[in-house]
Amino acid sequence: MSQTGVQKPAGPDKPTQRSVGDPGAIGDFSRNLRTTPSEFRESLIRHGKPTSDRAKSQAVFTNFFLHILPTRTHLHAIKATTTLGLGVATFVLFVLLCVTGILLMVYYKPSVDQAYASMLDIMHVVPTGRLIRNVHRWAAHAMVACVMLHMARAFYTSAYKRPRQFNWVVGMSLFVLTLGLSFTGYLLPWDQLAYWAVTIGANIAQSPQELTDALGITSYFDPGRMQKELLLGAHYVGQEALIRFYVLHVMVLPLVMTILIGLHFWRIRKDGGLARPSHADAASIGEPVVSTSGDGKPSPLKTYGLMGVMRGTTPAVNREMRNTMPTWPNVMYVVAAASMITVLLMTVLGVLYDAPLTEMANPAVPENPAKAPWYFLGLQELVSYSAFMGGVGIPAIVVLGLALVPYLDREREDIGLWFSGRKGRRVALGSLVLSTAAVIGMLAFTVNYGWLRNWAATAEVPQIVITLFNPGTVFVALFAIWSIVVVKWTNSTRMGAIALFTCFLVGFVILTYFATVHRGPNWNFYWSQASWPVH
């Protein structure tokens, strides 16, 4: 059937050679016309209905969009607890953001005079503009959260280990890109919230000045100022900053993001799918799945195409087959369900809650407190202790530390297991308790008693001491000491990594919470926003 069109290449061109009974070219034409839909379908989907395993494999393999997936997927990967759908959700949010973002671009005008007005237009008169903007906003926040959760999942299931070390690094880059996208988008409404959050963010970028000032080399070497000016294109947040942020937000960062996402996905394939524990292939998991074609005959079990040469464990023929199932349509359902739930959540949020839009940006009226976007609030809290350590030092340590995790912890045991088993769970719990106590203790101490600058005896200490010795660096040092202790106790680098990661995660969560809820005007402590003094 599929050969029909090919075998008669010149038929219609030579009507003179036809016999009497031959319907001729007209007949060909009418038949072609009749069969165009099926022909079109066939040309689009070159395999038949994916009823047989082979066809199912082809459905994945021959599809441009799906071919990044394996034709058969391990059962472990389909288990909800394996990934919690976080990677899919993150990707769907990205797609959702692209779609709503493009729609917003139609109406948005990146100029300080018109940006806010165009936001009002979008909110008030553009058909469905309000919903689209709301979804865009909530999806952006959700994506940041999902990226982090996805990273935590990957960490706790040891998914960063060989051969996936580099994909972990790619994931880190995606994490940073996500923050960058969210931050650049934050400015675009040009309202007070945006303006002052970005002002804070830009000042964080400038924070290396604290170190260079303390060293007295700012006048020769000023990376902080360079960073800030690179970001804003000026000394202040204005038209230059807006257009830079706009370009980054709608062009540069999404493009890089798309490429990296592709790389990320491709790497998953090349690195042998999702990490799974060694016992996932044990017989106890389940019976081997016997695939049948639609007519009951056994179908070819596996179709091998040119899939390249993979490092590491290659699929072992018989043993693996019984723990896999065809990707089409099974994984499709899983992925679609996760996607749809994500879309549903975003739509509901978008319908129920309007994205914030405060007064138009007014450089003359500083917000007090001016807060960065929530995911930077932990940093802002640290910046309040020391601009350099909070804005550059600690984030650099954390990002660098995370990126180096796969290279420092190379233990091969218990890959794919949450917390690498019971011992890891205990270490994580211990670290949770310890770091919670440490962070809350330090915060309580700082709020109640202040820090070096506030004490008479130490009021005159040099800036470099404050920079290096402040509540933020104290946590980090505590965390580091704790994880080294854990490494020593358990004689396992993996346990040390779990301890350190847990501590940082807890620190991030508590600081973010603390700065969001308990920091008020002048960055003073308040139990709740209700007790803020009226401005």
Partner: protein
């Protein structure tokens, strides 16, 4: 297991997909069928149908599409979608519909078409929004929407937007900078009209504006460069948004209007620590004021939308202010705008605590007796603003002083330099000074003030209480001139003394005593005249002159007396010099003895002829006899005091006088080349017969010719005409009241020659500008206004006994040998100062007119420490009384001002009287006060001392200071007492005089 997982996922997919669809459907429904504006458009269509007059319009109403409407005005940068709901805003048939359909009320849309101005230009709100709450900025519960900068202006508040384009509601000077684009620097002069003008319709704003003008807001706040510096600049206060205000203490809605309202009601609650006083405004007033403040906008609209100046300013003024008309601002208005908040609406002064009017006293309600305000709370919080509306204050403070203080301010107090910082022009300050001067008491009717009418005993009491502190208990002088000098009293007429008392003598310590009434002035004059020895009386002298046998009376004695007293002016043997010729037959035969005696004893006020009352009857009689020795012809008349009612026609006489006499005697007989005729004393003494005689036959030895028909006169008058002239002269007697100060066209004096003479002979005592030094100040207009040329001449010719003033013409006591012409030149020179004051030509610092000599600064310092420092602070640096030790004050305050203020105190403040007999805290004598003033003056750097101190006195001062500083170990003291090099005479001077040496 895998299958189950997949089935579960299928179910999840189904459910979540359906749910998503449902949510999207709901959103679509919400989007397309709900929403405020769709409902509004629906009711509008219904209203259109209801109001439709024919079927066609009904059909078209039904068919009207539902869509958002907008007004796009790129030149204003606005998009207003208000008409999406307010569809009927320009539809007159909707006038009676409810909102949002109702047509716009009033006429304003006529001048402001919606498609040119939009809506939010006036009404504010978020024009781009179409939701009811988001567009209006007000929530359903009546509170403002969060994050809406400009909630819609409601009710009268909408008129505050007029100020974005229209200038009528601006406080002043709006038009110029709107249309000329002159910007902030342009400061057009105030005009009364713009202060009272307002746009039609904005009643609340008009009231608010009036409150600003009348409550003295600009005493603390600036508007377009005018006003005080204590408060916020109000020029563009209407452009502030709610972000610019602190709502922490605002109880009501967080809007600008509410903030302002509560701020005006309870300033200290809304802005803790503010100095803004609680003005006691009613709710309505506070609301008016709040709205007015909101209307003070920068004019930012493009020219295409600004009102054309002429169209805008005609017909739109408020009806009640239309009568004011354009014109120069009134002093009264200036006072209420800039001064009343501190000095009180009526100028009675106020007492306020910093940031708080006294809670128990209405700041505006001070009555007259508030002049004696006693500050109970002597904290540094108390600020006593002096009363201006008090004769005591106004008597002491000259116009110059007021002008200087207003213009330059009073450093050390809250008094701003209104000229330099407060933006008032010098014309405006003059208006203010004149207005304040208007509170001065009126000058009483003075004609009836004579020494004869007074009771000397009452005068003595008055003198002790008011005058003795300066003029000495016995008139011997001190701060003021000595009054008991015989020659002074002889030369000074009652009118001179009276006028000097009533008007004071500016720039000296002599205040204007307007608080004395006519009776008291007479009493004082009577008392002062008691010092003038009165020995002779006219009748007695005349009686004696007829006798020959009296031993004391003889022509010989008369000659001696004449040569001692009279030759200075009348010349040897009465040939005449400064005074008229006496030895002509025409004169001698015409005048009876009574005339001679009376003229001698009374003098002739206004001329150089003093009163010789201290001569005894015998002396007068002797002089009369001596004068008679020149007479060779028999007397023509013996008539004395038998004047009948003039027979002539004075009206005819007037034209005769103008035609024949005025050339020499002046238009009104004030004298020119010929002697003055309208002198009341002359006219009283002269008889009709004498007048007739002189007119008919002339005066021999003088240019006075005969005017009788057949004589050799220039014209020939009939007897009747002579009578007419006499009648006219008699009329002058009745009309002339005051005394003649000056000869209109003095043929004698040449001021430029007089100036040279003055420089050579007088500056030593009177100062180069007549500002006075050891001698009294004679250059000031106040003195010259009341001192006649004759008084000046007589004082020069005769000197002033009991003082350093010696006669300047040749004579036994003379120190100079000036000729008559030279005396006249000097008089002319002094007179020239009256209209051209000398201080006008030199730097203002010299105006201080100092004449207090720093004899003993150490004593002054001690007196200051014991009497003044308690309030004015050590070295006058200010405590709770104002600072004195600054150049600003010291250059404004003359020595005289200081003296008078110390002596009399300052009404309406805590400054008490310190002078002798002034019922004050202490009785300071003239020397005390002079020392004190000299000490205060010694702080001034700007005013150079005219005198160098005698070395031994400065030594005392320095030694005293040194001792004082050692004793008290006072650092400020010791820093000022840099002891000069030992043993050096030149060094033994005060620092200030040392500077002069350099």
């Amino acid at each position: 297991m895998g299958e189950r997982q997949v089935r579960l996922m299928k179910a999840v997919l189904l459910v979540s997909s359906l749910a998503s669809l449902a949510v999207l459907a709901a959103a679509a429904f919400q989007e397309n069928f709900r929403g405020d504006w769709r409902a509004a458009q629906q009711t509008y269509r219904q209203a259109l149908e209801r109001n439709a007059s024919d079927a066609a319009s009904r059909t078209s109403a039904k068919a009207a599409a539902a869509a958002p409407q907008q007004i796009y005005l790129p030149e204003l940068g606005i998009i207003d979608r208000c008409t999406t709901c307010h569809l009927g805003v320009e539809n007159p048939t909707m006038a009676n519909e409810g909102q949002p359909l109702r047509a716009h009320s009033g006429e304003l849309l006529g001048q402001h078409p919606v498609d040119k101005f939009g809506c939010t230009v006036c009404h504010q709100g978020q024009g781009r929004a179409v939701g009811r709450e988001a567009a209006h900025g007000w929530q359903a519960d009546g509170s403002t929407m969060p994050h809406v900068d400009t909630p819609m202006l409601r009710d009268q508040a909408v008129y505050t937007s007029c100020g974005r384009c229209h200038h009528e509601n601006d406080l002043f000077g709006g038009e110029a900078d709107v249309f000329a684009g002159a910007g902030e620097k342009a400061r057009p002069s105030l005009d009364q009209a713009s202060l009272t003008r307002s746009l039609a319709g904005s009643k609340r704003l008009a009231r608010g504006k009036r409150l600003v003008v009348e409550s003295g807001c600009l005493g603390c706040h600036q508007y377009r460069g005018r006003g005080g510096a204590l408060g916020t600049d109000l020029t563009y206060v209407g452009d502030k948004t709610r972000h610019d205000f602190d709502f922490k203490h605002v109880k009501g809605e967080h809007t600008v209007e509410q903030w302002l309202f509560e701020h005006f009601k309870v300033p200290r609650e809304v802005s803790p620590g503010t100095v803004m006083p609680d003005m006691g405004l009613s709710d309505d007033q506070a609301r008016d004021l709040a709205l007015y403040m909101m209307s003070l906008h920068r004019k930012s609209a493009p020219a295409s939308h600004l009102p054309r100046p002429h169209v805008a300013s005609t017909g739109s003024t408020n009806a009640e202010d239309r009568g004011a008309g354009p014109g120069v601002v009134r002093g009264e208005t200036l006072y209420s705008m800039f001064c009343s908040s501190c000095h009180g609406a009526d100028g009675y002064g106020t007492t306020m605590r910093t940031g708080l009017w006294p809670g128990d006293a209405d700041p505006w309600g001070h009555e007259w007796d508030a002049r004696s305000v006693v500050v109970e709370r002597r904290g540094e919080m108390d600020v006593v603003v002096p009363s201006l509306h008090h004769p005591g204050t106004l008597a002491v403070a000259s116009d110059d002083y007021l002008r200087t203080i207003i213009s330059k301010g009073r450093p050390g107090t809250k008094m701003l330099a209104w000229g330099e910082q407060g933006g008032l022009s010098s014309d405006e300050i003059t208006l203010l000074v004149n207005f304040i001067r208007g509170w001065d008491r009126p000058v009483p009717e003075l004609a009836s003030v004579t020494s004869d009418a007074g009771d000397a005993r009452v005068g003595a009491a008055l003198y002790r209480a008011n005058c003795a502190a300066c003029h000495g208990t016995d008139g011997e002088g001190g701060i003021g001139n000595s009054l008991n000098s015989a020659t002074f009293l002889a030369a000074a007429s009652d009118a001179f003394l009276r006028d000097t008392m009533v008007h004071g003598r500016p720039n000296t310590a002599m205040p204007a005593w307007k608080e004395f009434d006519v009776r008291e002035l007479s009493d004082l004059l009577a008392f002062i005249r008691q010092w003038q020895t009165t020995r002779g009386d006219e009748a007695g002298a005349v009686a004696l002159s007829g006798e020959d046998g009296n031993a004391g009376v003889s022509a010989e004695v008369g000659r001696t007396l004449f040569n001692a007293n009279c030759v200075t002016c009348h010349g040897d043997s009465g040939v005449g010099d400064l005074g008229p010729t006496l030895n002509t037959q025409a004169f001698l035969t015409a005048v009876p003895d009574e005339y001679l005696a009376a003229t001698m004893l009374r003098g002739r006020p206004g001329t150089g002829m003093p009163s010789w009352r201290h001569l005894s009857n015998e002396d007068v009689a002797s002089i009369v006899q001596y004068v008679r020795t020149w007479q060779r012809e028999p007397a023509k008349t013996t008539e004395w005091r038998a004047q009948a009612v003039p027979k002539g026609d004075w009206d005819a006489g007037r034209s005769l006088f103008a035609g024949n006499c005025a050339a020499c005697h002046g238009t009104d007989g004030e004298g020119a080349t010929g002697p003055q005729l309208n002198n009341p004393v002359f006219l009283e003494l002269v008889t009709d017969a004498m007048l007739r005689e002189w007119v008919s036959f002339g005066k021999e030895g003088t240019p006075m010719r005969s005017f009788r028909k057949g004589g050799q006169g220039v014209t020939e008058l009939s007897e009747r005409q002579v009578e007419d002239l006499v009648a006219y002269l008699r009329l002058l007697q009745r009309a002339g009241e005051g005394e003649l100060i000056r000869v209109a066209k003095s043929p004698h004096g040449r001021p430029e020659k007089g100036a040279a003479l003055y420089a050579n002979n007088c500056v030593g005592c009177h100062g180069s500008l007549g500002e006075g030094a050891s001698g009294p100040a004679i250059g000031n207009p106040g003195f010259l206004r009341f001192a006649s040329d004759g008084f000046l001449m007589a004082t020069m010719a005769l000197g002033r006994s009991g003082t350093e003033m010696r006669p300047v013409k040749h004579g036994p006591q003379s120190i100079l040998e000036l000729s008559s012409d030279e005396v006249n030149d000097l008089v002319a020179h002094l007179r020239s100062w009256e209209h051209n004051p000398p201080q006008g030509k030199v730097e203002p610092a010299r105006i201080a007119h100092r004449f207090v000599i720093p004899w003993d600064l150490a004593r002054g310092r001690r007196l200051f420490a014991s009497n003044c420092a308690g309030c004015h602070g050590t070295e006058g640096k200010g405590a709770w009384a104002p600072e004195l030790n600054n150049d600003g004050f010291l250059s404004a305050a003359t020595d005289g001002f200081l003296q008078a203020t110390i002596v009399r105190g300052r009404a309406g403040t805590a400054m008490r009287a310190f002078g002798q007999g002034a019922h004050g805290l202490t009785d300071m004598g003239p020397q005390d006060i002079d020392d004190l003033v000299a000490y205060i003056r010694s702080w001034a750097k700007a005013v150079p001392s005219p005198l160098t101190l005698p070395a031994e006195r400065s030594l005392r001062f320095d030694a005293d200071r040194q001792a004082g500083s050692d004793r008290r170990n006072d650092s400020t003291e010791s820093s000022r007492s840099e002891t000069p090099a030992e043993g050096s005479v030149a060094a033994a001077t005060t620092p200030r005089t040392e500077k002069n040496h350099e």
